[in-house]
């Protein structure tokens, strides 16, 4: 509390301090006959802030909370000083204060009198005089010019904020420049088409407001979905990402812990890292979900842009289309999953939107932006390489097309080259940084995975056929699976009008991405993943939207193409005998066939039929020349979307991967610990999953010697480990570290469910709470295990009975981790009763011993005191251990009594 009190005193002292400094400065200026300006107040404010920072720094020096404390105090004192400064400026030259002062001296004057006393010319004259004195403006040959640009930037900043808040004064300034006062170059600019407004201002603003409303709706739905579903962790990938986030937040580097066998690109981890600055697990969990929601909801804006520019929608259709597509049932579930797809989706959408604008109006600036987004894609997912290669191919196609048409191919080629250069620079910079600054012991890196998988794929014929199987399966799935109808439509369109592939680079780019993703699966996945029905449909997800947008753009070409496409695709599928046999473990784009599997207990065929009908019927209704057709189609579409999203939410909500349910280790091992503790102690899955509450999954190879395993566990300690005891030791020969963090918490709660009292840990609570790394260092320095030892040596219980002589049964539960003899001595009213109960080596953890005594209660109020002999101190060469002692229970045995027990 000391530092908080100190901080408050500094903040409280800021105002008088600022005043005293200001007063002193004023007097000093007055003695020298100088004019007092607002500069004196600014100086006083700055000095106050610096002084507050310095004092708080001195008070908090050598403390772990040095920086937070200094920042906090400086922020608060700075705010006080700023308010002081602005208030002084207001009393010096503020219009509102000036009017109030007029009213104070001359109450009862009218508004007109105020205006005449405080006219525009008066105000401007005073302001111009001051601006001249401060050197903001200069006057020569009757013309006033700006000299200091900083005041213009400040004004622009306020103007921007004023326009965001829709204050009319800024709009006036922007729109009503008298013609005589317009910029000299304005005529030239207008002739060149620059700055030309295509829509009236009111309409544009209304459109912007609707866009903001749509975004807020998407944000709200996504937030509700995430809140309802919970955070899902997929395989070890989530852990690898989170491990880097923890390093960023807690150590300020991009390293990975030992045992994280894969290294993923860093961008998503970077965005998640603020959550790990929080020490409260629940808060961290919520912030993680919030980050995911915010990232995912950003998909709305590129979708809006794509539908407007490429999809040619406007008005209500644009708004509804953007909202529906942002909440696609196949993409929405990613908002609650802790994987890079969450960030990759908006980035790819932005890239598609950027590509459309670039193709419409090519320029080097747009090309550089595209390169930047490409780089961000690749720094998010290795799969971003597919987009890069597709972009390169489209660039080549476009250049060739330009060459054949206009022979002006050099500029086109250089624009694409510029984009690729920006991308290359970003990726090269990261690679360089990764190789020089990032420590990643024992990991393979995603490049290594790719090479290993390719080698494995090409080496044996059997594997090769499996991979071909995957490729065909995925490609067909991709081309037909994008919400069923759109995929079929676009595939058929391209088959029937192949010229479109050249005329519209957007289509060729999308299809190249699809093909590249199928090739990814063919080439880069290891055969050990197994069976022909492959689960990695998630590679399709980013291209569902572009396929739908293409379908919307060419919607007028509709019916015939659709029918032919359906027949052709179904024929191909039948011939290939591969009716899309992907096992949709991930959120699925082929929702009509797969998503209903997870929903509401109906038989699969009925669900599929119902779902399919619900997708087809609305589209049919929308085509009918019936007044309510569109309304009905919207309602039906809304129903389908809700149905699918609820199904996805239910599926992921119940999934064992959901952190809320306890992931592999959380739930399963805790159950095992309860049922068969000895088995659980030796349980060691390849990856030990934990949820986000514990923020770590620890990979503990069996080949590691126990010390290393323990170190790995300790190295994963974070400030989140508040309520956790480390129930493990290397001293039991066959014992392996069983878990960490949240798992241990669960272990503690479930295995020793009744023992929830406050336990003090032998290592020192503060060290566990705040000094996880210190804990680690200490363990390493001593070269021997440090055991967290709980010990609460004595308890006092008061037992009341209305009838003296009543018998009470006293039970005391003790759990011991290992072979450490402990004695439990019972004392009643200070007198030792009986001999100590011995808890010997045979009672290995988590065996719970119940010591039981029958005692007469001699008086109405008996004080029962229990003393437990402390275990060996940590410094002893003999191993110490964990002893968990539960608060004793006392039960009055005599039924005739009206005894009660109270602590």
């Amino acid at each position: 509390m000391g530092e908080i009190l100190g901080c408050l005193i500094i903040v409280a002292a800021s105002l008088p301090f600022a005043f005293i400094i200001h007063w002193a400065l004023c007097k000093w200026h007055q003695r020298r006959g100088r004019r007092i300006t607002q500069g004196t107040a600014l100086t006083a404010a700055l000095l106050t802030t610096v002084f507050a920072a310095a004092v708080s720094g001195v008070l908090a020096r050598h403390r772990p909370y040095f920086w937070p404390s200094v920042l906090y105090t400086t922020a608060l004192s700075g705010a006080v000083a700023y308010v002081y400064f602005v208030m002084f400026c207001n009393t010096e030259s503020g219009r509102r204060y000036r009017v109030l002062e007029l009213l104070f001296h001359s109450p009862g004057i009218t508004a007109e009198e105020i205006h005449s006393a405080y006219s525009t010319s008066y105000v401007l004259e005073k302001r111009l005089e001051r601006m001249r004195k401060w050197g903001i403006i200069e006057e020569s040959s009757g013309q006033v010019r700006i000299r200091k640009r900083s005041s213009v930037w400040t004004a622009r900043l306020f103007g921007l904020w004023g326009r965001i808040l829709a204050f009319p004064v800024w709009e006036c300034l922007r729109n009503h420049v008298p013609s005589s006062l317009s910029h000299p170059d304005a005529a030239t600019r207008t002739a060149a088409g620059e700055g030309k407004q295509t829509a009236p201002r009111d309409f544009a603003r209304a459109g912007g407001l609707w866009m903001v409303c749509g975004y807020l709706l998407v944000l709200a739905v996504t937030a509700i979905y995430c809140y309802k579903t919970g955070l899902v962790l997929i395989l070890a990938d989530s852990y690898f990402l989170v491990d880097r986030s923890k390093h960023i937040a807690l150590q300020g580097n991009l390293n990975l812990s030992p045992g994280t066998t894969l290294a993923y690109p860093p961008l998503y981890s970077l965005l998640l890292s603020p959550a790990y600055l929080l020490s409260n697990p629940r808060a961290a969990n919520i912030v993680l979900r919030l980050i995911n929601v915010l990232i995912y909801s950003l998909t709305f804006f590129p979708i809006w842009g794509l539908l407007k520019s490429y999809g040619r929608l406007e008005g209500r259709s644009l708004w509804l289309g953007s909202v529906f597509l942002a909440l696609l049932p196949c993409t929405l579930p990613w908002a609650s999953i802790l994987l890079t797809e969450v960030l990759y989706l908006p980035l790819v959408y932005w890239f598609f939107y950027g590509l459309v604008t670039f193709l419409e109006r090519p320029s080097f600036r747009r090309a550089a932006t595209l390169g930047l987004i490409l780089g961000l894609c690749h720094l998010t997912r290795a799969a971003g390489g597919v987009v890069v290669i597709s972009f390169l191919a489209v660039g080549l196609l476009d250049t060739i097309r330009q060459f054949r048409r206009t022979r002006c191919w050099a500029r086109t080629a250089s624009e694409y080259t510029a984009a690729l250069c920006v991308y290359g620079l970003m990726v090269f910079a990261w690679r360089l940084m990764e190789s020089v600054c990032v420590v990643m012991p024992d990991n393979r890196g995603y490049g290594a995975i790719v090479l290993n998988a390719m080698k494995e794929t090409m080496s044996t014929g059997a594997d090769f056929s499996l991979h071909v199987h995957w490729f065909v399966n995925c490609l067909l799935y991709y081309l037909t699976g994008s919400l069923t109808l759109a995929g079929v439509f676009v595939s058929a369109l391209c088959l029937l009008r192949p010229r479109l592939l050249v005329q519209d680079p957007f289509i060729s780019f999308t299809l190249l991405c699809v093909l590249g993703s199928a090739l990814c699966i063919f080439l880069f996945f290891e055969s050990s993943l197994g069976e022909p029905p492959l689960i990695w449909n998630k590679y399709l997800i980013p291209y569902v939207l572009p396929i739908l947008v293409i379908a919307l753009r060419y919607r007028a070409n509709g019916g015939g193409v659709m029918l032919l496409g359906c027949i052709a695709t179904l024929g191909i599928l039948a011939l290939a005998s591969l009716p899309c046999r992907l096992v949709c473990f991930m959120p699925d784009s082929l929702t009509a066939f797969t998503m209903p599997r997870h929903c509401f207990g109906l038989s699969e065929s009925w669900r599929a039929a119902g779902y399919f009908a619900a997708v087809v019927v609305p589209l049919g209704l929308a085509r009918l020349p019936w007044r309510w057709g569109k309304v009905l189609s919207l309602v039906s579409l809304f129903g389908v979307w809700t149905f699918a999203s609820l199904g996805a939410s239910a599926y992921w909500g119940e999934s064992h991967l959901n952190q809320r349910n306890g992931s592999s280790l959380g739930k399963r091992i805790c159950q095992e610990l309860r049922d068969r503790p000895s088995l659980a102690l030796h349980h060691e899955p390849p990856y030990i999953f934990t949820g986000v509450d514990m923020r770590a999954k620890i990979h503990v190879p069996k080949t590691d010697i126990p010390t290393q395993r323990l170190e790995q566990i300790v190295s994963s300690q974070t400030p989140h480990d508040r309520d956790i005891l480390l129930l493990t030791t290397r001293n039991i020969a066959a014992q392996r570290p069983i878990a960490t963090d949240w798992c241990r918490w669960r272990l503690y709660r479930f295995s020793l469910a009744s023992m929830r009292r406050q336990h003090e840990v032998g290592l020192g609570c503060a060290e566990v709470l705040d000094g996880s790394y210190e804990f680690n260092q200490r363990m390493s320095a001593e070269g021997k295990p440090v055991f967290i030892t709980e010990m609460k040596p004595s308890f006092t219980v008061k037992a009341y009975s209305s009838r003296p002589g009543t018998q009470a049964e006293v039970r005391l539960k003790v759990a011991t981790l290992q072979q450490i003899p402990k004695d439990i001595q019972l004392r009643v009213n200070g007198q030792a009763i009986g001999s100590p109960v011995h808890v010997g080596p045979e009672h290995s953890w988590p065996h719970v011993l119940t010591a039981k005594w029958h005692l007469p209660l001699e008086t109405e109020e008996s004080i029962l005191e229990f003393t437990v002999t402390p275990p060996q101190p940590i410094s002893s060469p003999r191993p110490a251990g964990v002893l968990l002692v539960e608060e004793p229970e006392v039960e009055i045995l005599s039924r005739s009594s009206s005894g009660r027990v109270q602590e």
Partner: protein, 173 residues
Amino acid sequence: MIAYNHLLWGGGLFGIGLAIHVLWWRLRRPKDDISALALCLLLLPAAIQFTGGSWLWYAGSIRHLMVDSFLILGFIVSLAAVYIISYPAAQAASPTMLVALRLAQRGEAGMSVKELVASLENADICGETVPRLLDERFACAVEGRLFLAKRGMQMVRVCLAWRYLLGLPEGEG
């Protein structure tokens, strides 16, 4: 113990208040700006902190929770104070800013003082000042005549005393 969490969480709550403020102003600007700002930027974050925030921050001790909440609210109050004191500059554009922007629009060519005065309409400079003071209850009107309200009277007295202590004359506007 003061931690980055307090700054982050306080900043987040202030951000929520700010987002609501923007949305509110875009949809329908309130009459009494200052009270509405206080509602958005002070009361709303405080309410969130003492309801949902408490649930998030509670780690087994009411005392710690109260201390955490106090620190967070302190940070929010400081941010809100900075914003509210700066708000009038955006709401009723300062003449200095308007002059700077007008001159910047003309670039190197500049403009004469006459043109400058003509370009800044009366409404831009102090047209909104009196209605806003009435809306915000700094002043009140009785039969077309204006008087200081309680809030305005207090403010003027404090400021006059302050300037008197500093030994300064009245401001020049």
